[in-house]
Symmetry: C2
């Protein structure tokens, strides 16, 4: 059998390795006359009984190699689980700094570019949005699809594809300025006048009718309509509120009001109809038009640019969104708004 | 039309109110010759054009009564929305300190007891577990079903029923003590010996086979099996770990390890098979037996007794659980473990 030598963070084989492992099956990377294998590749090759590995003159079996590798490479177990899964399903794989470059079916190193960049992580490791955006920019530059491979505590694997998206719809705001007054109650607003109530609901799918004459508006909707000069809002003591005063009150009721508001405004201005996503545990459910108000297309959650994802929560959000045939979108609020969609994929 | 007078936090009508509103439709509570109405009842009766209300000699229309009531009663809008919904669907309703007592269909005040205690709240109000348990004990004592009525930002209503439950299954732990060693790698354990691997997986649905010979165990599973004296665990440098040392390491990897562990142990000891619930965003998915391992019955999330629920997260968890035909259970860890199930109901 072929033999290799563990040296630092790689295993080196001679020329025979290039012939037997690289030429035919695209393991490792030729370096001059040698072949260099990553520890994950090598563990897999030991398991497949294709190589013997020595270290300091001693042969390492699978168990001893694995324990050694786990001491050398941070998160080695995760890398091995993902690598074995990909190879096991017939993909050709090369290491990259965040995990792996994976070639499309039918492709391999030397024949066309890799299709995926696979970022390997564990359910337990919090994911910084700043890191995710870096990986996303990087994979966009390299024209590859970014995949998150998440290993759970029982070593099961879930793959998510991450993409930028620019959601847009075809609904145009039609309401005209109201003459009647709107009152801010405790944490929602009320339109008291029947014709105004009907118009707002019909022409923009704003609010929820409390009965035939009265319309309840959420804080976000009220704030947006005030900002569009459709209506004026007063407190229960009839004091008029301007945008600054209203949003200050709203932010004291909902701590994330301002980032939610910015996303709401962006969605509305993109021809979309956002409504509360409470029943889905997200900020918004979003309709592409209000002619098809029976099924919403997206779930959108507003997050700030320094957000840290809990992968457990991402998992729940994406799974729920997909189970109701919607896309799960995170809206990242900085000086602008970027939309990122996360969806489960089967590679 | 009948007339009433706003006095403090109630509206008082004369004898005619008892005849017209209480005898036939069970509004209000007779006090001597008068009928006392709550503000939510009264707003509804104004809307139904069944009463005129005066305050300081002036008549209040719906708008002015509503604004006044919203100034007097905290969360009046929420109470009104829930009250109107219940009455509108034919239920007879009386106030209670947490919201409403609701009579079963066919029942009414004076004819049998109320069936539900409805706790009224908003998606924005964090729910203290200690409060929820108080309401649950209270409704259990009164032999009523506890319902959470949650009003979202757009005034939509969702009802959840809350119940205590004692989950149990019929799986008996069969593994015998292993002779082979188990290694704690970075954040999971590995069984290296093929027969032990097979036995643990087959006899208790422990772990996940990495390949034909090697079994990966989660920290929780390893800790449980160690505690049951099925296996011994050593570190990569072959140092043996006892329960205290192992759980200290595990808790440094997963901050909520100890409460998760207690729940896992309780579930296993109740004849159930818990596995990770990562894909569902909860701690565990739970099988009633490992003869029917294709469909898990419960999703279980471990929480400490001072937990504070975000209703947005509860909503997402319950909706996801129900969409995959499982029950969402919270396991409350104090000096004992109580299980609470939350499920959507349509009243």
């Amino acid at each position: 059998m072929l033999s290799g030598e563990l040296k630092g963070t790689v295993v080196i084989t001679g020329k025979q390795g290039i012939e037997e492992l690289h030429r035919t099956s695209f393991y490792g990377r030729p370096k001059g006359d040698d072949l260099e294998l990553s520890l994950a590749e090598c563990a897999y090759l030991i398991y497949m009984k294709k190589i013997n590995v020595q270290c300091d003159g001693e042969e390492l079996d699978f168990e001893h190699f694995f324990i050694k590798a786990s001491n050398i490479v941070k998160n080695f177990e995760l890398f091995y689980i993902v690598y074995k899964d990909l190879r096991g399903r017939g993909y050709y794989v090369q290491p990259s700094d965040i995990g792996f470059r994976v070639y499309p079916r039918g492709g391999h190193p030397g024949k066309g570019p890799a299709e995926f960049l696979v970022f390997v992580t564990s359910e337990r490791i919090p994911l910084l949005l700043t890191d995710l955006k870096k990986h996303l920019d990087n994979s966009d530059n390299k024209k590859k699809r970014l995949i998150l491979a998440i290993v759970d505590e029982e070593s099961d694997l879930t793959h998510y594809e991450v993409r930028k998206i620019t959601p847009s719809g075809n609904s145009v705001l039609r309401p005209t300025t109201l003459q009647s007054n709107v009152t801010l109650l405790e944490d929602r607003c009320m339109v008291w006048e029947p014709d105004s109530s009907k118009m707002l609901h019909k022409e923009g799918f704003f609010g929820k009718p409390m009965d035939e004459g009265h319309l309840q508006l959420s804080l976000i909707e009220s704030c947006y309509l005030m900002n569009c000069k459709v209506l004026e809002i007063e407190k229960r003591d009839h004091e008029k509120l301007d945008f600054a005063a209203f949003s200050r009150i709203a932010a004291s009721i909902e701590s994330d009001f301002m980032i939610k508001y910015k996303v709401y405004e962006k969605l509305r201005n993109s021809g979309l109809v956002p409504k509360t996503g409470f029943k889905f545990g997200t900020h918004f459910r979003v309709y592409k038009s209000f002619d098809s108000i029976s099924h919403s297309d997206y779930l959108v959650h507003a997050i700030s640019h320094d957000h840290i994802f809990s992968l457990q929560q991402v998992s729940r959000a994406v799974r729920l969104a997909n189970s109701v045939k919607k896309e799960m979108i995170y809206a990242v609020v900085s000086d602008r708004i970027d939309f990122i969609v996360l969806g489960r994929v089967r590679l």
